[in-house]
Amino acid sequence: MENSPSYQVKLEVFEGPLDLLLFLIRKKKIDIHDIPMATITKEYLEYLNQKERINLDREAEFLLIAALLIYIKSQMLLPREIPIEDERDPRQVLVDRLLDYQKVKAASLLLKEKEEKELQKWKRASIPFQYFEKEMDSLEVSLFSLAESFFTLMKRKEKEEAQIIKGKEFSIEEKIKEILAVFEENSFLDFFDYFYEQESFEEALASFFALLELIKSRIVIALQKSHFQPIKVWLRDKAPAKRT
């Protein structure tokens, strides 16, 4: 087994088996369009045999390409009735894949440079605070936030169904007082926590209308930094002026 210092590259540094193959091809100064299958297969398998270098999770992917190499090698050795020039070179599949991969890898290096350059230019992550409040309730909508809302709902519904207690009436006025009382001890009210603590669906509904009433009369404001972030309800005049 070859063990020269330059060979002591951990398998983890390779993005995958194609990356390793390209490395071996360059190292051996092999023409990618005329790969000596016996040599490259031997090199590749030797590399793979150094088990300690292999992350087991990724072994299958490396073995898959090993199998491909061995298969192509065997195809090359088969006696042929017609000369090989007249049919497709069995190596072509591999060459095509390597060329495609090489392009993707080169492009990713070029993009990396662009990223490097771009990351030195800082953009404003936020807008000036005088417009902030108005923008807080808006959320960027993606397909996934759409679906996410749905599943959050489903989970909430399950819980609510288990907790429905009929018969008790809740007054919105009482709930308004209750919410305002929260602010005497806390600077803000956590929207989800607050509604999860409600004993029944009816009570949650009354609380929700109370909250809407408080928002409508501009006493409180509900803020959310971004999607998936907790929604916090603040007294309007004590609300943070901007994102942190």
Binding site: R124, S142, L143, L146, S149, F150, L205, I231
Partner: protein
């Protein structure tokens, strides 16, 4: 170099989310003499005061901050309103997902899914043409039946309603997201 110092201070004020104080500026630009920094700020403020620009540097809460000019307020409001229009509120999103996954659906069925009254949101969605009325249900009261519209598909880049992520796909990605956020925090 002094010219450059003015630019550095400008970019620092630009990127700062809160009013940037003189002390803070000096604490960052340690390799420059204080009087050079004072001078750079003075020149910067002068150039913004004299040049005809759409943005200005204001002094607030003991620091410097960029802001738009009040005379452009009309346009800024119009721009932000248009931007906001393109986005849906989270209530609208919730209602829309409930409808998307349970259509055809009636108004009465939505609160069962969302836990809150949804008639207002439904109206907004109708106005935005995200949903449409497709008929009436043959049940007591003959309530209206709703479906998502073509505009809904376009808004979310869907080819047809079958393109909505399946529950399996979503829960996979949600699990991911949770792990991802936990890692980040």
């Amino acid at each position: 170099m002094k010219e450059r110092l003015k630019e550095v201070v400008e970019s620092m004020i630009f990127i700062s989310l809160e009013p940037l104080s003189l002390e803070k500026i000096k604490s960052v630009l340690t390799e420059f003499p204080e009087e050079d920094i004072d001078q750079a700020i003075k020149e910067l403020l002068e150039s913004y005061a004299s040049d005809e620009r759409g943005i200005q540097i204001i002094q607030a809460a003991g620091g410097y901050l960029f802001s738009t000019k009040s005379e452009h307020d009309t346009w800024i409001k119009r721009l932000l309103r248009i931007e906001r229009k393109n986005k849906l509120s989270s209530a609208a999103m919730e209602t829309l997902s409930a409808i998307a996954y349970h259509q055809p659906i009636t108004l009465a069925e939505i609160p069962a899914l969302r836990g809150v009254d949804s008639s207002q949101t439904l109206k907004t969605l109708l106005q935005k043409k995200m949903i449409k009325i497709v008929g009436r249900k043959k049940s007591p009261g003959n309530p209206l039946i709703y479906r998502t519209s073509n505009k809904f598909l376009t808004h979310f880049g869907l080819n047809n309603i079958m393109d909505l992520p399946t529950p399996e796909e979503i829960s996979k990605i949600l699990d991911e997201e949770k792990n991802f956020e936990e890692e980040e925090n």
